[in-house]
């Protein structure tokens, strides 16, 4: 059992059936319009996307109505740890800041960390996966061994000591997440690369004299892209959970406002004792909503791209 379900990129995808040689032909990338039409027919996916859009929009427009004064403990003058009322819809925290505003601002910070960590994870994982799948032989096996080594590393001590070495804060959390999660993507991409390379058009390209780099970039990558896309949405989900966990454990910067930091503050400053449910519940529900959004969207995308993975009779 993983220590908290962190960075399991493909939990909700149908597994690339282990043991089965990836002989089944992966679906070609359907045209964009067909994709959209198919996606729209899946209410779960739409719901997920809707949630995401809501949060992304909130995150983007946040600076418009949240100035630095409202989050600065020295400038606010709200009542301390006060229950929600007319002027503070979600109440206030121990310093008198509005929890609602912190929640919106936290969306911005948390999503930023999640997305950047995911980009890092996916880039590293895909690069290694494609190279390992393409080259095979000693290089390929060596890369897979490296992947195995990283899988064997206990993730939480690794993340905490990384954060200590790099200095606490969102940068080290981002790097820690990337370092501990890229392996899942790597293995997935490698398996997919092997499947793609088994197809005739790749052999044709090789016969025509295409070099390694060209094959990897022009033939493999576009066909692996859909899988990477699906994997990314699910990686963001687990990156967000990881961020919440790592910040909760105290690795974040206490001066930043992220959902994980709000939960950390709530727990370690006694909000639980003070029955301050307005401080405890919203960040957790927000994390839940966004993670769910990404997961639903990812699954819907996956179903569209590969109808086999959907419920069939």
């Amino acid at each position: 059992m993983t220590a908290e379900p962190t960075a399991t990129a493909s939990t909700a995808t149908a597994p690339d059936l282990p043991g089965m040689p990836p002989a089944a032909v992966p679906p070609r990338f359907t045209g964009a319009r067909r994709f959209v039409r198919a996606f729209v027919h899946r209410p779960a996916g739409l719901a997920g996307l809707g949630i995401l859009l809501l949060f992304v929009v909130l995150a983007l427009i946040a600076p418009a109505f949240i100035g630095p004064d409202q989050l600065d403990v020295t400038k606010v003058n709200g009542p301390l740890l006060h229950a929600p009322d007319g002027s503070y819809l979600l109440g206030t925290d121990q310093a008198g800041r509005s929890v609602l505003l912190m929640l919106v601002w936290g969306a911005r910070q948390s999503l930023e960390i999640g997305v950047i960590a995911t980009v890092l994870t996916v880039v590293i994982g895909s690069a290694i996966g494609i190279v390992a799948g393409h080259y095979g032989g000693i290089v390929g096996r060596a890369l897979m061994h490296v992947t195995d080594w990283f899988i064997a590393l206990p993730s939480l001590p690794l993340a905490i000591s990384l954060a200590a070495v790099l200095g606490q804060g969102s940068e080290s959390i981002t790097i820690a997440i990337a370092v501990t999660s890229w392996t899942a993507t790597a293995r997935l991409v490698r398996a997919q690369t092997l499947a793609v390379e088994a197809r005739p058009f790749v052999e044709r390209a090789r016969a025509l004299g295409a070099g390694n780099r060209q094959i990897m970039l022009r033939q493999v990558l576009p066909n692996v892209m859909p899988l990477i896309l699906v994997s990314s949405t699910l990686t963001v989900a687990s990156a967000l959970l990881s961020e919440a966990t790592l910040t909760f454990l105290g690795l974040g910067s206490p001066t930043q406002v992220t959902w994980g930091e709000m939960l950390h503050d709530a727990f370690f400053n006694g909000a639980f004792t003070a029955d301050a449910w307005w401080y405890l519940l919203p960040p957790g529900i927000a994390v839940l909503a966004v993670v769910l959004g990404f997961t639903l969207t990812g699954r819907a995308v996956e179903h569209v791209l590969d109808p086999r993975t959907e419920d069939t009779r």
Partner: protein, 352 residues
């Protein structure tokens, strides 16, 4: 944070088109020996990475441990010698390797006892918690996955999948806290009936039936927290496998023979659908021992996860290095077993 999905792969990947790249076919002494060798190398590499990382951490264990106490110059110097901090890093590494190879996991700076005995003290509670949660998750997840996969599209399936998905998306520690409030603090007029912290009530006898009841009572909330968040993985994987299997021709034959639906499911579809889950189970078993740090912290469960976390604050390097050895070994051994068991179980792979 290992992937539950990217599991054991067969030794030979997709059959390579003939005479493409020149592959060096090294004659292997044997599949098992090869796997063992790579396991040992993995182990060695993880030890090196662990040692490097912990020793790179900016830290001052002597000051951190003695903070708030009056300590003389001589005491500090003595401490530094005692902890081996006066030696260069490479010498400490060699001592570490030598000790590990002899089975000596070191001596905790904080707890003044051998790391081995420290781990033995704490491993019981962790395995109890993680083992129980794991067993329940697997059984519950596989059962739910099987039923919902078999009747894919039904209301049961939808509700199961939705609930599992939602619960998987919840931060574990937050869920733990909510459960703590709900069941320990109380719901309205009914008082909470479960304990708030710890593994047992010190006022009760520490052995016998009452003790087991007491520990079981303390176990409910932390285990429930873990189960709720983890079982979804098994539901998903089982469900997909069953859906895959459902379309297989041999099931059609079984049905044509007149077998009842659930017999078909139980005796024919299930064993084959179990294969991917088995590998996942082994992989998760590897990570079992490292415990769930946040759950142990929230419920004051005296386990290994919490020990590691505490050791990171000093930092108590021997404990960190020692537990690193144990955790990595566990994962590597389980990965190895997963490979072997899968190879043994899946006739298709065996045939290769």
């Amino acid at each position: 944070m290992s992937s539950p999905v990217a599991v054991a792969e067969p030794t030979a990947p997709a059959p390579a088109p003939a005479s493409r790249t020149r592959r060096l076919r090294v004659p292997r002494p044997g599949y098992l020996a090869g796997k063992l060798l790579s396991a040992v190398i993995s182990f060695a590499v993880t030890l090196i990475i662990g040692f490097a990382l912990f020793n790179l951490m900016p830290s001052d264990p002597v000051r951190t441990m003695t903070r708030g106490r009056p300590v003389s110059e001589a005491q500090l110097a003595q401490l530094r010698v005692q902890l081996g901090l006066d030696q260069p890093v490479w010498r400490r590494f060699l001592t570490y390797v030598n000790d590990t190879l002899h089975g000596n996991l070191g001596y905790s700076w904080e707890f003044k006892q051998s790391v081995g005995s420290l781990i033995l003290e704490r491993v019981g509670p962790t395995l109890l918690l993680m083992g129980t949660a794991f067993a329940v998750s697997v059984l519950l997840g596989l059962w739910l996955g099987m039923r919902s996969g078999w009747r894919a599209g039904s209301l049961f399936d939808k509700v199961t999948s939705a609930t599992a998905l939602t619960l998987w998306s919840v931060p574990t520690f937050w869920l733990g806290m909510l459960l703590l409030v709900l069941f320990s603090v109380g719901i309205g007029p009914i008082h909470g009936f479960l304990p708030t912290a710890g593994m047992s009530d010190p006022t009760l006898p520490q052995s016998g039936l009452r003790h087991y009841e007491d520990v079981a009572r303390h176990l409910v909330l932390p285990a429930l927290t873990m189960v709720l968040v983890v079982y979804a993985q098994y539901v998903t994987i089982m469900r997909s496998s069953i859906i895959e299997e459902k379309g297989a021709p041999y099931l059609l034959t079984a049905r044509a023979k007149g077998l009842r639906d659930d017999v078909v499911r139980r005796r024919h579809a299930l064993p084959n659908a179990l294969l991917p889950s088995v590998t996942m189970i082994f992989l998760h078993l590897g990570g079992l021992i490292s415990g769930a740090v946040t759950v142990e912290a929230i419920f004051s469960w005296p386990g290994l996860g919490d020990l590691t976390y505490q050791a990171l604050t000093v930092p108590d390097l021997p404990v960190l290095q020692g537990t690193f050895v144990v955790f990595s070994a566990s994962v590597i051994i389980m990965n190895l077993l997963a490979d072997l068991v899968y190879r043994f179980l899946d006739p298709r792979v065996r045939a290769q």
